[in-house]
Structure formats: C-alpha cells, structure tokens
C-alpha cells in the first residue's frame, strides 16, 4: 500500500472521527460498542485507502464502511441484541449517511444551545454525561426521585434538540 493514500485517509479519519462516531452510536445505541466498531472501521478504511476517490465526499464513503463493520459486529455478538433490528438498522444507516455531512454544523449549534439551557438542566446533563455519575448518585446530589431525574433528562435532551433545529434553521 502506498503511504500517501493511507496518510490522507488517516488525516481525514482524525478530522471526521467525531462525526463518524456519532453516526455509529446512532446505529448501535451505545458508546462502547460504537468505539469498538470505529476501531475496525478505521482499519478497513486505511486498508482500502487506495480505493478512495478524492473527488467524492469522505464522510458518506466512510459511513458505508462503518455500517458494514456494524453488521460484522452484530454477527460476532449475535447473542446480545443490539438496539436496532437488521432491517431498521439498514434503513437508518442509509438515511443517516445522507444527513451526516451537516453534523459539524450541528455540533456548533449544540455548543450554543447547551449554554442556553437553564443551570439545573446543565448540571443534570453534566452529572449524567460528563461525570458519568450513577443514577442513584444523581438522585442523591439533586435530591430528586429517579422518575424526576429521568423526566428532566429527557426534557433537557429534547430542549437541546429543539434549540439545535432552531439554530440550524437560521444558519
């Protein structure tokens, strides 16, 4: 393999890694599996670096590899059901690959929208995602019931999503 295409692919991988990882998380539903899949995906992409057509966009091309690696991952982990069934996975993978190119824009919007959330919602999301605090710890720290914590997490995520939509519509 020439080093030049491989270098280019690794560079593109670094640049678009977050986008691809988010794509895989949306397919498999959890971060740990998605990271395993991304590791395999990156290997596949570098192996096939010579096949990459520079005139085409990298992310949709890479998404295809990620999808195929997701299928392989399912095969290997057959006993453990993943979030999506095969047929749903295929539909979502295809639809998402088309959307994913705008993911960087969405990320900027997410940053802006997070800052707009009420302090309590930011604290809750920080505990849940950044601190990775167990639910019991969150309940204890915020002095709320499990039900309230889950309800507020759902609301916070939806607020973020709605805000992002709004931001993007102005973009």
């Amino acid at each position: 393999m020439d080093r030049e295409p491989a270098e280019m692919i690794t560079g593109l991988l670094m640049k678009h890694f977050d986008v691809l990882l988010r794509y895989v998380i949306s397919l498999v539903g959890n971060e740990a599996d998605a990271r395993d899949i991304m590791q395999e995906t990156s290997m596949s992409l570098v192996r096939k670096a010579d096949d990459y057509d520079e005139s085409r966009s990298f992310v949709p091309w890479a998404c295809r590899f990620a999808y195929l690696e997701t299928l392989k991952f399912r095969e290997k982990n057959g006993k453990r059901p993943l979030l999506l069934d095969d047929d749903v996975l295929e539909i979502i993978a295809n639809e998402q690959a088309g959307e994913i190119a705008t993911a960087d824009v969405r990320k900027e919007a997410l940053e802006a929208c997070f800052a707009k959330l009420p302090g309590s919602a930011r604290k809750l999301l920080t505990l849940r995602y950044h601190e990775e605090a167990p639910t019991e710890e969150i309940c204890s720290e915020l002095e709320k019931s499990r039900r309230s914590v889950f309800r507020e997490l759902k609301a916070a995520r939806e607020s973020l999503r709605n805000c992002i939509r709004k931001e993007l519509s102005y973009a």
């Binding site: 988010r22 949306s26 749903v88 990320k107 802006a112 930011r122 939806e158 992002i164």
Partner: protein
C-alpha cells in the same frame, strides 16, 4: 402520529438512560419501521445523546460552553493516533528530559502540557516543572504518594518528597502511609504535611487556597509559621490575605472521581495493541528511553518498525502499569497476549515479557518463551520466569502456525512465596468470562518482593512470531476481554 412521536421520544429517552426493556426495544423498532418522520426524530435525539455521551468538556461554570475542547477521544489516542503514529511517525521519540526519576507519570488523560517538559505516560519524572493546560494526569512517587493533577495546573516537583503547587487543583493520596518521611506539598501561601492522608488542594488565580482532607491529618504551616491541623472530613479556605473560613467538605475533584469510575470498569492496568496490517509497526508512544538497545540487554531501547506483525529486528514495547504490581503484598495480576508462532528452530528466548522495578531502569521478572522441538513428536514451549529465582515451565505447543492466546496469572503473597500460572488458549477454544479452573502450567514458588511499575515485551527477531494485544489487569476479564475505554 402525535402519540407515536411521543412514544418514540419516551423510548429513546429510556434507551439513553439504560432503562429500555426488551419489549420496549421491539416497540421502538416497530415505530422506526413506520415512517421517515419517526426515524428523523430518532436520529436527531440520538445525535444529541451521542454528542453528549462522547464526554465533551462540560465545566460546572454555567457560562462556559460545554464542548469547546476538541474531543480528542480515547479512541483517537488508542486507535487513530496509533495508526497515525505508526503510519507517519515511525521515528524514535527522544526523551525531552533525561534525568534520574523518582516518580512516574502513570496516567495522562487528554493531556496538553505547556513549557519545556511534556511527559508521556510511563515516563519517569525527576525534578521538573509541570504545566498542565488540559486534561488530567496522575504521578506516582517511589514513596507511594500519588498526585492527581487537574488542568489547568502548575506543579513544580522538587524532590522525591516535595513539590510546589503554584496554581490549580491537585488530589494527594498516599497508599503507603507508613513511610517514615512525610511528603511536603507547598503552595504560595503554605506548606502542607501529610500524616497518612488523602486530600485535595486548590490554589486559585486570586491566591485563595482550599483544602479538603479525606483521610488522616494534614498539618498546614503558613508563611508566619502558624500551624493548623485539619482532620478527615474537614475543609478550609484561606483568602490571599490570610483570612480563613470553614467550608463544606468535598472528597475529591470531579476529574479524579471520574478517572476512578472508569478505572473500576474492568479496564486493564496496562495494554498495548499491535495493528494487524502489513506496513504497520509498533508505535513509539511508550518509549521513554531513546537509546539503542544491545542484543540481550534488558533495557528497552527505541521501538523499531516491524513489517506486519513479523518483527525484523529486536523489538521492544513498554507500557506503564496504571496500578503497580507490588510483589510484597497479597495480590493477583493477570496478563494475556495473542500469539502465532511458526516453530522453525530452537530459538532461545523467542520472546519475553519483563517488568521494570519501580524507580530503577532495571527490568526484572522475565517471562520468556522458548520453543523446543522434541523428537517424541510434541513441540514444547518452555516458559521461564526469574522472579528473583528461576521457575521453568514446559507447555505443550499448539500446532505450528496456529493462533492462540497466552494467558498468565501472577500471584503475589506478603508472607509466602509467589507463583506464576500459564495457559494457552487455542483459537478454537471459547474464552470463558471467568478464570479457568485449571492452568496448563503451575510455576514453582519463588520469592519476590519487587514493586513493578512498567511492563515491556521483547521479541527475538530470529523467531517467527506474531503477537497482538498485550493486556494486563487485576481481573481475568480485564486481561482477556478488556474494556479499554
């Protein structure tokens, strides 16, 4: 449709919070089959969840943006960076500061350093100035003292028992609290002496200082030699002008708690991944030595490029042990290595694994594997250990060219001899999630009281051996089926 949308949102939320049942999963899939609108809803919610779950920086300061820091994910460090380093660099990293070390950087999480010295994980550290601008780092001293730094942090290490925290947040712990000499941590305002302690100290930009004592006692001496003793569970704040007040106690900085949580998830204490691809080699990420290695030497040298998985010359990799192996204490450490060996000839020390004694450049406790052809039909591998004594173990060699996992267990005992166990796990054998009931080889009992802080792997280039994925952990699962992230 409205009901379906709300049900879908409910189910996605449950999934995000790990509360989704099997039946609800089926319902979610059914809904996603119905319409593109529902799938778009799913995708947009999952994208938000995915962005949040990728652990962006979310400082508690309400005015701060959550994701300003570029998310250099664990994977990039582990996978992409490994690719890129292997692909593009393949040059020996020179240690930026050669000096006698009495501490080791045992963990560096998303670290960015400023100043002249940018240590890498596993690097030994002596007297130096550390300026951490991003991430968190843990430094372990020979005395057992550990300092967890949370960026932004400026720390000057003055000696084996002394450091100055100029700015930032630091968590101090001393797991070997019976040491004779206490550790002196100074700040611009004070000197803190520990007595069997864990505590966190913060020096703020305005000169104010906070101290939270988790265990034991901390004696604080200020510039006027005023002495304050602070006990476990107490916390104090001093303004730059010297006024003090009691404040609510917080055990550990959040970054330290987070690191501990991750460490408790069955992660290996050391690992190294080889990339199964022709043209790739071993990265130099763990080479703090930068010196040539002479054949037969136990001192690791620069990492040399390997073609595929077949090393073309003596190859050394090394990885720090995030939790040291203290052979003088009761404990167990597991390791595993994927191998494929073509036995062409009797080759001494086809490969060996060694551990560095903490605070020294010496690598001891080799586990060397030597294949021997036997005319009686069986091939044997001899596994030697020299844990301050010698223990030779003969194993039946798997068929030539087959792949297998070499798993081992090192048992350390405080008042009794130590012991090593080995087992080959052929490719065809399903890997249990529990330690096997029987080991192929039970080593002789040996006496060893070393404290190891780094593992290295050496391959003899005459041997036709391919290796992949070295893992060490405190549990069977963490060594044989680790979650590295």
């Amino acid at each position: 449709m409205r009901d379906q949308l709300e049900t879908l949102r409910e189910l996605v939320a449950k999934h995000c919070d790990e509360e989704l049942s099997r039946e609800e999963r089926e319902t979610l899939n059914d809904l996603l089959r119905i319409s593109p609108a529902l799938r778009r809803e799913y995708a947009s919610l999952m994208e938000v969840h995915a962005s949040l779950v990728m652990r962006p920086e979310m400082p508690s300061s309400p005015s701060s943006f959550p994701i300003q820091r570029k998310t250099i994910t664990k994977w990039i460090i582990v996978g992409a960076a490994a690719c890129i380093v292997a692909l593009l660099a393949l040059t020996t990293k020179e240690s930026s500061e050669a000096q006698p070390g009495f501490a080791t950087l045992i963990q560096a999480s998303d670290c960015k350093w400023q100043g002249n010295f940018s240590p890498v994980e596993g690097e030994q550290i002596g007297e130096t100035d550390l300026r951490l601008s991003d991430g968190s780092a843990s430094i372990r001293f020979l005395s057992g003292v550990e300092l967890d730094l949370v960026a932004p942090c400026h720390l000057q290490i003055e000696g084996p028992n002394a450091a100055i925290l100029y700015a930032g947040e630091l968590y101090f712990s001393n797991e070997m609290s019976d040491t004779e000499e206490s550790f002196s941590l100074s700040t611009p305002q004070s000197e803190l002496l520990d007595i069997g302690t864990s505590y966190s100290v913060t020096v703020r930009k305005d000169g104010a200082e906070e101290l939270h004592v988790g265990n034991g006692t901390v004696i604080r001496l200020d510039e006027n030699d005023r002495r304050v003793t602070i006990e476990a569970g107490q916390a104090m704040r001093w303004q730059a002008e010297g006024q003090s007040e009691a404040i609510p106690f917080v055990d550990k900085p959040s970054a330290v708690r987070r690191a501990e949580r991750r460490a408790s998830r069955g992660k290996p204490i050391a690992w190294y991944s080889f990339i199964d691809q022709d043209g790739y080699g071993f990265t130099d990420a763990w080479n703090p030595w930068g010196e040539s290695v002479s054949k037969g030497s136990n001192t690791p040298g620069p990492i040399t490029r390997a073609k595929g998985l077949q090393p073309t010359e003596q190859t050394v990799i090394a990885a720090p042990l995030k939790v040291p192996i203290d052979m003088s204490e009761n404990g167990v450490t597991y390791f595993s290595l994927f191998c494929s060996i073509e036995v062409a000839a009797d080759i001494p020390k086809m490969f060996y694994m060694a551990f560095r004694e903490s605070g020294t450049p010496d690598h001891k406790a080799q586990f060397s594997i030597t294949p021997k052809r036997r005319t009686i039909g069986a091939h044997l591998l001899y596994a030697d250990t020299d844990l301050n004594g010698r223990s030779t173990m003969a194993l039946s060699l798997p068929p030539d060219g087959s792949k297998f996992q070499l798993a081992g267990k090192i048992i350390s005992r405080a008042n009794e001899p130590d012991q090593v166990f080995l087992r080959f796990i052929p490719e065809s054998e399903p890997l249990d999630s529990f330690e096997p009931y029987a080991w192929s080889v039970i080593g002789q009992r040996v006496e060893c009281d070393f404290r190891f802080d780094l593992v290295s792997l050496h391959l003899n280039t005459q041997g036709n051996i391919a290796v992949s994925d070295l893992n060490l952990g405190k549990t069977w699962e963490s060594a044989t089926n680790p979650r590295r992230k």
